[in-house]
Subunit: 327 residues, 2 copies
């Protein structure tokens, strides 16, 4: 069965220590592919540096991983016993206010771009913004250009109003690569029903996360599978998938960068809080990609059919990429 | 007959005034294609801005021009009555010291890169440097990477020692897109016999220029054709082509940027001098691309055969691209 993870945010760049043991855990878990995170706040040149470092890493670990841009490439790489990496970014800060850079970064292999990360940008508002501006005029042009260039619009950290605007503006299906339903796990990072319903109407996809800070009470395999089942009931089996939000190698220094980049000196907590500042503990049954079979088992134990399990574990992502990306 | 110009350095970016009349002159002269100049001293982001602006220009003038990366595309565009633009750069300053950016810029369409412009760089020495360092260690890696990625190595403004080093280092044929033989027209920009002989051995190509400052006494059609004939005798018919060095739209402001970028405040004269500071007057028989048929006529009047004229006017460039570039 093809396992695909809608988000693994580990910084697997060429010069990051302990990256090969982490890659081996992807193989241990039989993960056929994942969407990566290259940029959080990085500009164009910094992001290009990351693209080069991911390529060099893939070259040096070609027995374990390879870069992919389409579902055919993902399937081929997974079938060869390796893990396909779809280059993505949790912020399209690399555009540096330039519409034309969407096409250039698509040509460099970037296939997924989140419209905003944790802070407001020239594109729109984030999920943590007191007032969400909605999609800006520039943002509207960017969404159209992403559609044209086959770069997936990701709304995971995007504010609700900007998310709805982006879904309205997008001709292509959009992704929420890693988030959960707000109705079940009330957290600013999670998605209210109206966004989920709009996602369904857009033929989009939601990768449900196992990240401790945003699962609410759904911490056991059975409770997490209940959340999957609720989401399937709400938006349909074709729109539900997995996006764990694993960070295998980043650690505290990377967490600080994720949370505050260069935009704040005062400590920021991201999806945590001042009472919960540390990297979140992993759920005990899913501590890393090596535990991916436990997700499959949880879904089977819940009573999902073979076909349904296959869709949720990976096939829905493949069908989604067929509708959105190109080589 | 296919006409191809090894260098037209006009800044035809989308936001440059009077660009459409200049493009019409390319059509008037029946020019089927040319190598452009995007960067002189520009860094990565500035050069990407230029790539976008050339694309937007081509989109807005798609009845006259189209971008091309291979000889097949050039032939197809020329056959449609338009002019093919091969994106090139007179300085690979866009690398910003990064080996991996060769591949990224190749993916963005850059097909020709001059190793240095008028000043020394991290790659090597220019033709105006009092001491030419030769190809640096980084430069050696860049040449290998350009070979791998199908980006043509251009040596027109490169110092003689760096040029010979680069030819030695290059597995692929290299180009001197726009220069003349030093033996006939002694000027720092022109190429001594040993560089021409090395170019021949490398199966490279030389585009002979009509730029007033570097033709020496070869100012008439007959004298210019004599220079072509001398070069053919020296390095063989297969290695000789045209590279006019026309600037149709740049004017004085662009000339100042070309000559001194940001590296000098004191006035620099490029291929001119303090006695000859202004933009060079055009040769009276070849004042712009609309006069390309006059080049053909000069070659015919000299006594070159039909086949020889076709090779020099464009076919040698097509064969060269077949050996060096890819789509």
């Amino acid at each position: 069965m093809l396992y695909f993870d809608g988000l693994n945010c580990s910084p697997f760049e060429w010069d990051v220590p302990d990256q090969r043991p982490a890659l081996l855990k992807l193989r241990e878990g039989g993960v056929g592919g994942f969407i990566s995170t290259l940029a959080w706040y990085e500009g164009a040149v910094e992001t290009m540096d990351k693209i080069v470092k991911w390529r060099w890493m893939a070259e040096d670990n070609s027995d374990l991983v390879a870069l992919a841009t389409t579902s055919d490439e993902i399937r081929e790489i997974a079938a060869s016993g390796r893990t396909a990496i779809v280059l993505g970014s949790q912020n399209i800060s690399f555009l540096e206010n330039r519409l034309g850079f969407v096409e250039l970064f698509a040509e460099m292999g970037m296939r997924v771009g989140q419209l905003t990360y944790n802070i407001q940008s020239d594109i729109g508002g984030s999920c943590y913004e007191p007032t969400d501006s909605g999609l800006s005029r520039f943002g509207r042009a960017v969404v159209a250009e992403m559609n044209r260039c086959g770069m997936v619009v990701d709304l995971s950290h995007v504010g609700d109003r900007t998310s709805r605007d982006a879904i309205d503006a997008s001709d292509a299906p959009v992704a929420i690569t890693h988030a959960n339903p707000y109705s079940l796990a009330p957290h600013a990072r999670n998605k209210p029903d109206e966004v989920l319903d709009a996602l369904k109407a857009n033929h989009g996809i939601l990768g449900l996360a196992t990240y401790r800070n945003i699962v609410g009470e759904h911490t056991t395999p059975a409770a997490w599978a209940d959340m999957v089942a609720w989401t399937v009931d709400r938006i349909g089996i074709d729109h539900v998938a997995v996006g764990t939000d694993f960070d295998q190698t980043g650690g505290e220094r990377a967490l600080t960068w994720m949370r505050q980049g260069r935009w704040a000196k005062e400590r920021q907590y991201g999806a945590g809080s001042s009472n919960n500042p540390a990297p979140a503990a992993k759920l005990d049954w899913i501590t890393g990609p090596q535990d991916f079979p436990h997700i499959e088992q949880a879904l089977r134990d819940h009573g999902f059919s073979d076909d349904e399990v296959a869709l949720i574990m990976g096939e829905n992502w493949m069908r989604f990429f067929d509708r959105t990306t190109r080589s």
